[in-house]
Symmetry: C2
Subunit: 512 residues, 2 copies
Amino acid sequence: MELISIIPDFHPLNDENLLRKADQIKPEISFADHLLPKSCQINGKSIAPEVLASLPLRRGDQAVLDFGNHMVGRLTLLLDATGSHQDAPAHLQIDLAEIRAELEESPQDYQGWLSSSWIQQERLHLDTLPARVELPRRYAFRYVRVTVLDTSPKFQLLLCGAQCRAESAADWKNVPPREIGDEELKKIYDVSLKTLADCTQQIMEDGPKRDRRLWLGDLRLQALVSYGSFRSLKVIKRCLYLFAGTRFPDGRMSANVFTDPSPAADDTYLMDYALMYPIVLEEYLQETNDAEALNDLFEPALEQTDYVLRHCLDEKGLIARDAAKESFIDWSDTLNRRAAVQGVLICALDAAAALCGRKGAESRRQECLDMAQRLRKAAKDHFWQKEESCFSDGGQIAIHTQVWLTLAGIMPQEAARAAFEKALGLPDAPRMKTPYMHHYYIMALLRSGLRDEAEAHLRAYWGGMIRAGAATFWECYDPDDPAGSPYGGRIVNSVCHSWSFTPAYLISRYFI
Amino acid sequence: MELISIIPDFHPLNDENLLRKADQIKPEISFADHLLPKSCQINGKSIAPEVLASLPLRRGDQAVLDFGNHMVGRLTLLLDATGSHQDAPAHLQIDLAEIRAELEESPQDYQGWLSSSWIQQERLHLDTLPARVELPRRYAFRYVRVTVLDTSPKFQLLLCGAQCRAESAADWKNVPPREIGDEELKKIYDVSLKTLADCTQQIMEDGPKRDRRLWLGDLRLQALVSYGSFRSLKVIKRCLYLFAGTRFPDGRMSANVFTDPSPAADDTYLMDYALMYPIVLEEYLQETNDAEALNDLFEPALEQTDYVLRHCLDEKGLIARDAAKESFIDWSDTLNRRAAVQGVLICALDAAAALCGRKGAESRRQECLDMAQRLRKAAKDHFWQKEESCFSDGGQIAIHTQVWLTLAGIMPQEAARAAFEKALGLPDAPRMKTPYMHHYYIMALLRSGLRDEAEAHLRAYWGGMIRAGAATFWECYDPDDPAGSPYGGRIVNSVCHSWSFTPAYLISRYFI
């Protein structure tokens, strides 16, 4: 799904006070050097990394270095020449890949809708060897393939070494020790934390390969997992300030914020993402009781619910049909999102009420609670299908609708299991596409008392990803097509992605 | 012609004393900034350089910048984004070309025998715009083509500016004012000096695009022209020390020397190139009377003639047939080089005698002169074809043979014109392929009193190059195929090349 909610004549006004604070709490990045790849291949044949430096590479030769684990950082190559004196530049191509399958695809063949510029392929000329080549960009990779595009008949290339300086703002020392007896759950937990560590940079990045950007919906899940593990509170606070500091002139928050070259809102509004803000802030304050953040961010948070209440409700107390289209919920071209966004709004109002409570703004607190109740009633009246015993949105019975109205507290507990099963069983209903949606499905199962079903789904979905080879959790995973790509090429997939690692939270909180 | 005279088990021993001196006289490079290209095209349409910065470039768009003259130096591009915020890297390809025709050829199609790594094409990703991109390598170019490989649907690229910092060690202030009334000769003269300036770097480079290296045969011509123009005496002296400092253990000099990462002889011996050394040194001393250079370089110079006399002469006083194969003379696969190298050896002995005179080594001087006379007689006895009234080498009547035996002083003056015409008229005889050889042909015409023919040939050959579009003189130019390439692709041609600019010397000395 391409995000099309682009604001026309977009002229954001930054709040310099909030952004200065965001800048002051830029986290420190820690570095870890990985000196030698764990294993190497030359032209498809495995060799010991120790002998790599002695093997002359000629035009067309390829060396694949496997660093053994997912890396986010800078790559340095040590190169030399052998044979006669280097009498021409050495011309190299360097492909970096998070998973081996990326190396099998050719950038020229990629025709998808994401920019091909995300493909991690570089070319470089070396006029003088030996050379220590520090590639200037940060990459996300496990595999590095060096292809010799040309040397000359007189000399060959030597790949004497490769080094990755890994970067992360996550502090492993903060992670509480946790005994997880079950092997599958332990593996899922470990992969979740590794994924979060690699996404925790100067901001919470959605994916360190792509888009390397701060998204509000993702932030809610990133923060949840971080509280129970790395506790990257400064990063989370910085992210909260970045969203508040780059609000649109009408108070709304962008779905995502750029930080380079300076903080700037994207011109994309997603209603459900903006409504996450009071929720993220309330959860952050539950962890920290940070009075400064409450003071600075309370009004920006309430502006998110206020805007929707003022501009996007119809007379029945429902999100207007057109307004609901400016939302995400999940990747789907066919999903009717109105009921689900209604659910998100109710959750946001509950959080807003809690924030008002913290502020001592009692009448506003009551208004939020009253409004949430009104919206619950409207949703129940409008979307509940008595004869089907489930929620329906515009005639569509989707799991997404069931999930969000459950989380909003209006699914009758006794109806939940059947409603979920019905929506999942309908052949034409929209399917859940992203780990982001699967997380909320599990939360809805838990909310409905279906703990075993929740655990089974976690094992099936995230365990399935691991069985499909995941060493970090992916932006998208379709159990029916584990090797697929929604972009028209695995070469642009992001397999270390922020909205996918909530099992660490779920497992530690509900399943051990 | 691929140079195949590679020394087996090549282990050079550097003379650190000479190389330290070479290092101490490294010339200063001067810089000249060229801020805006003279003209621009976007997707083939001409635009004013001033509006370039306002034109959004999308995937597949191409901007061609024409800097108006040949440049040797560093390129800086100023880039920005327009449209929505940059949400993906910008991926660019940058092609740099000395002549426009290079841009028409595709690197992928090049299948020639020179390394494709000489093709000046770079690719780069820009994660953050705006960016000031200083490409790290030095290029030789007039045209820069920027191709947008990808942006994203949300933003476009702006090419806000381009700058070249030109580099040269040639000092234009040293060039004596010279009135050249004839327009064609003036143009040829000017282009010669521009070519020399661009080749005068930390060494005398053969070509600033390719090979960027110090060749001994080229150095003789570079120095000749420099004495009458930029007088880059330090550069020439440095080059003399580099050759002497990197002699093979048996005293011979390499045909060319690498300077990066540190001075090193190539493992290629070309007898005629090595024999140029006493000639270059003697001509340098005629200009400078540099006592230090005479003292340091006298023995290395004489080692070049001594080696050939000791190891490469047969009992008749002729260069042995096999030994002559290790020589250049001109690009040709069919040329018999024995007689021509004999001519070069005789010239070298004359120079060696002059060096001995400077040193006060009278008996060695006499030995050189006696040997030169003996070689002249042997050559005349063996190569002169009475019935043909010209020289023949192994049954082949080549212009190269006539030229070098003329320069060695054994062409009967009255026979020269006919001998040259005969060699040039034979359909199967090897033709002159390089400006290097054409230079010596003109010198032979002058030596034979054929001044008008010499000037006519200069106008025909170098004037022809200019009529074919040369703004600097080319490594190779075939009047019958001005757009040809001896390498299998113009994209690797070097059109600013050291052995091609002797007209500045010839014109100032003989034709005005």
